[in-house]
């Protein structure tokens, strides 16, 4: 075979096709080979964040501690009851509510007047995590929540007391794109500590938990972040939507003792 002229039409064609084939094989095999690591990294990230608000320290590996203390369930947001049978048990823990919220058959549009968190639609089902102590007693109920802040959607977990389904026991944010040092201070443990022991509602069951400037109501209000008013407002409304509206049926059932998770 005579030498292929690289600048001829045929030569160009052959060389570029070869090029693309080699590159695509490289890329796709790397993606496939790395997939288990990526899945593990995502799961590990989620478990670390859930354990952060669970009140349990990581002993040994993250996965082991998670398995010992955390039980994942799915709830039907509308009714507030458990709905574990919707998906296979293995998919509950990593139930991807954020992407399912965008698909019409697995989501519910939020009416404009209720959509204070600015998320347009939510998944029909949401995962909840029950943190159990050594004796199998539920110590905390951990709920995911998310909403629009200043630049980005902020994702977090809030831990509530299972006794009254009203007292906040911990909060963490696991994904956001707020300005580091200003809105990004929602990650600051000192600020997150302010959330602890605040009540969601007052004696009459009205939602009162708010993030405000110069918090006065010691039972329900916490100070906003200085220099990050819009992020604070966004987080406040996110909490208001989920804890004061969307999760209300679930929290009511939880406080009445109607949610029973098997030991």
């Amino acid at each position: 075979m005579s030498k292929l002229n690289k600048d001829s039409v045929l030569g160009t064609f052959v060389i570029i096709v070869t090029f693309c084939l080699v590159c695509s094989v490289l890329v796709s095999s790397a993606v496939v080979a790395l997939d288990p690591f990526k899945t593990a990294a995502v799961a590990n990230d989620r478990q670390v964040n859930i354990l952060k608000v669970s009140g349990f320290e990581v002993k040994g590996s993250v996965a082991k501690t998670f398995k010992e203390h955390i039980e994942s369930h799915l709830i039907d947001v509308e009714t507030g009851s458990l709905a574990d049978d919707v998906v296979p048990a293995s998919q509950i823990e990593g139930y991807n509510f954020a992407s399912l919220a965008k698909k019409p058959d697995s989501s519910v549009k939020i009416p404009k007047d209720r959509d204070v968190a600015g998320i347009l639609s939510r998944a029909k089902y949401m995962p909840v995590y029950f943190a159990k102590d050594e004796n199998g007693k539920v110590a905390r109920v951990i709920l995911p929540f998310y909403g629009q802040a200043l630049w980005s959607t902020v994702y977090g977990y809030v831990a509530l007391s299972p006794v009254d389904a009203n007292t906040i026991l911990g909060v963490t944010f696991y994904s956001h794109g707020e300005t580091p040092g200003l809105g990004g201070e929602i990650d600051n443990p000192r600020w997150q500590a302010l959330w602890v022991d605040k009540k969601l509602t007052n004696e009459n069951g009205e939602y009162k938990f708010h993030i405000v400037k110069n918090a006065a109501d010691k039972n329900h209000e916490i100070d906003a972040l200085s220099g990050a008013t819009l992020t604070s407002v966004g987080v406040d409304k996110t909490a208001a939507f989920w804890l004061g509206d969307a999760y209300k049926p679930f929290l009511e059932k939880l406080s009445k003792g109607e949610i029973i998770v098997n030991e």
Partner: protein, 218 residues
């Protein structure tokens, strides 16, 4: 190439004397976006260095087979593949950082430095010098990123690599962080100051004026 620069020169010039960011003013966009903290800047620098040197090496190896009319496309293919590789590796082994870097790793594809080196150097040089050239340029980029990020993180958040250096007020310390430093425009100012500093120090890097204000007809 009969009498070109030595390998050492090829490697060292782009780090300061012909720094891609400071002197050639390339790759500015990403250097502004990821320099609010040292960790992201460092990892971004490493990623660009890896992509730049490997792309240079790969292009240089096949340089005699690349058809002239589609050479840019061929380079893009190689660079894009490498960037996807780097992105996947970060997602698998440094998930937290890859979340913070988000789209910017993918945007290395459009980083002018990488493309500039493959087109300007690797296409007409042997593999070894190309590899060194890519490494040098990547490290030059990383150097600028780290300098800017050090200033921004230290004075904007009071930390360095996430370690507390100046205890900030938010954490119960005394230091009031400078809010401007964490905003993206600030890296423009810092980069400008950096270029000014380097060019005042090294007079040989100053460009001649493009105009002369004393000219009669001006």
């Amino acid at each position: 190439m009969s009498k070109g620069p030595s390998l050492k020169e090829i490697f060292l010039t782009p780090i300061i004397a012909n720094n891609p960011v400071m002197i050639q003013i390339l790759g500015i966009c990403s250097s502004l976006a990821v320099t609010s903290s040292m960790k992201t800047a460092f990892v971004m620098g490493l990623s660009v260095t890896a992509v730049c040197s490997l792309a240079n090496l790969a292009i240089s190896i096949v340089r005699n087979y690349i058809p002239n009319s589609v050479r840019i496309i061929a380079q893009m293919t190689v660079i894009a593949s490498l960037v996807i590789l780097v992105d996947q590796i970060l997602k698998a082994f440094a998930y937290d950082l890859s979340k913070q870097l988000s789209v910017y790793v993918g945007l290395i594809i459009t980083n002018c430095i990488v493309m500039g080196r493959t087109e300007g150097f690797a296409l007409k040089s042997a593999p070894l010098p190309s590899l060194l050239d890519g490494l040098g340029n990547g490290l030059g980029y990383m150097l600028v990123l780290c300098v800017v990020a050090t200033i921004r993180e230290l004075f904007g958040a009071g930390t360095w690599f996430g370690m507390t250096v100046l205890e900030s007020v938010n954490n119960g310390g005394w230091y009031v962080p400078c809010g401007l430093l964490v905003m993206p425009p600030c890296s423009f100012f810092l980069l400008g100051l950096l270029i000014w500093g380097v060019k005042s120090f090294r007079k040989d890097l100053q460009e001649p004026l493009e105009y002369d204000t004393h000219r009669e007809d001006y």
